[in-house]
């Protein structure tokens, strides 16, 4: 094992230890467990955006659409179909993922700014549907009247609703499972074709890779991850509202990814930690919290153009 690999393993172990012990060390710094759950879920969203942005080189500026669809899919399922947390998550991921797959097929020929604009437009369509269709979605007031359900096992059940710590661990397990899938895709031959497209689309095409098909698959996968994160977010809040579909949230995810380092796997999570914790702290101090985050973003982009994690020397996979 090389020194680089050893250091990489040490960093990984530290990250997972910090995540596993978060409910115990966070209160020491004035944090609370629900904030930890929120960071994980929004971090997962930012990593899903980055799956496309950082690893395929495709910028979606409307990914909140799939996040919000996941949230509504989960909430509506819990409210009207069946009171089961896993069922809600599954339904949310499917609703957002399938919608993403269908609309993605219309997108794959667009590139760069055009791609970003069309994704914003799609996102806003869903935003206005959720906003206007009050009888189902609750409109501007958001969707209420559902709550995360206990997990039932043979011999015992786990209460997720009133016990923040057990819910945090539930979110952490979901988060880890999605990350494992994401990481294994990125390390696969398919994942390497994504990198090829990011690095040089023309070369990739003339290696015999059908670019549109591969971008569509990457987009669809990213939508499924995103929708799953959205479904988890509905459980975090026991609530879904149209702002979860809005392009300003899409922008937040992109900011998290860019701040943390979009060429890195873990960068967007770090970006989410910075963004969500600052937002939580600043918004209790001032209503103008966004201007402080704005200044921070400018500083990070000026001084760390590749994001905070982009500063670390990259591990070479040989």
């Amino acid at each position: 094992m090389t020194a680089g690999q050893q250091r990489h393993l040490a960093v990984l172990a530290a990250v997972w230890a910090a995540l596993l012990l978060a409910p115990y060390w966070m209160p020491l710094f004035g944090g609370y467990t629900a904030l930890g759950s929120r960071v994980l879920v929004l971090g997962l969203g930012a990593m899903s955006v980055n799956f496309l942005l950082g690893f395929t080189g495709v910028l979606s500026f409307g990914h909140a659409a799939w996040f919000g669809l996941g949230a509504y899919g989960c909430g509506l399922t819990l409210k009207f179909v069946g009171a089961s947390t896993p069922l809600g998550l599954l339904a949310g991921a499917l609703v957002g993922g399938i919608a993403g797959a269908i609309l993605g097929a219309l997108l794959v020929r667009r590139r760069g700014i055009y791609f970003a604009m069309v994704t914003i437009a799609f996102g806003q369509v869903f935003y206005y549907i959720a906003f206007q269709w009050s009888s189902v979605t609750g409109g501007d007031d958001g969707l209420r009247g559902f709550a995360r359900q206990p997990l039932h096992f043979e011999l015992f059940q786990i209460d997720l609703l009133h016990n923040d710590v057990s819910f945090y661990y539930f979110v952490l397990i979901c988060f880890a499972a999605v990350l494992a899938v994401m990481a294994s895709i990125l390390r696969s031959p398919f994942g390497r074709t994504m990198t090829a497209i990011r690095e040089n689309e023309r070369r990739a095409r003339f290696l015999g890779i059908p670019i549109e098909l591969h971008i569509w698959i990457a987009f669809t996968l990213s939508c499924f991850f995103m929708a799953f994160a959205g479904a988890l977010y509905a459980l975090v809040n026991n609530f879904a509202d149209p702002r979860m579909l809005h392009y300003s949230l899409s922008g937040d995810f992109v900011i998290m990814a860019v701040m943390g380092g979009m060429r890195t796997f873990w960068g967007p999570l770090l970006g989410a930690v910075i963004f969500v914790v600052l937002q939580d702290y600043l918004s209790s101090v001032t209503v103008n919290w966004m201007s402080f985050i704005g200044v921070l973003i400018v500083l990070i982009v000026l001084f760390f153009p590749r994001g905070v994690l982009g500063l670390l020397p990259q591990r070479r996979t040989a």
């Binding site: 294994s184 696969s188 690095e199 040089n200 023309r202 070369r203 003339f206 290696l207 890779i209 059908p210």
Partner: protein, 249 residues
Amino acid sequence: MRVLEIDNLTKRFGSLAAVRDISLKVETGELRAVIGPNGAGKTTFFNLVSGLFAPSAGSIRFDSRDITRMPAHQRVGLGMARTFQITEIFPELTVFENIRIVTEVAAGYRLRPWLSRTEKADLRGRIEELLELAALTDKTDRLVGELAHGDQRATEIIMALALKPHLLLLDEPTAGMGDQETYEITQLIRRLHKDGKLTIVLIEHDMRVVFYLADRITVLDQGRLLAEGTPREIAANEAVQNAYLGQAA
């Protein structure tokens, strides 16, 4: 057998006809050089053959199969590979990673979520073979973007080779190279042609390279086919001398 059979190929950009009515045939195992002054339509001709864009008129047959309207990536699947005038590689990846992507795609693994141990070992062997061929073995872990121009060119050529093509299109392989680099690339191309039995079509400005390598030469001028023949015939051709060789001297 004919690898490439092109009939009356024409490409218009607005009112400008970049390629006009070109017909030519390339036999199996042949090394064909395409030459001509700047703006003669050589690169446009390559872009039509490789499928970067569709012709306005005419047809292209590859291994007796009509590929005129076929998307570029499918032509690659049939065994046609190309390089570009300005090197097209994956600059932020290492030499190894560049070659690995191609070998995986060439082996039909591009949609695979994982590979078995034997598949990985086979690929590794293939990658090492290719690196050796281009004398890049000691630069495996270098980022391609940081390599010397000649090594980047060589990387692009072996990436094309990794696709196991039977027709290789090289667009000015020695462009921007010094004498030593030109010599090395020329020898590499010659090995591919003589030992690898590859059919090669190359665009080239350096006449030493053209006359050293080519079995036959096609001369384009202002989008038209001006002449075609063996190097000896082309050197003696008066129209060519007027349009091109005379100009260069």
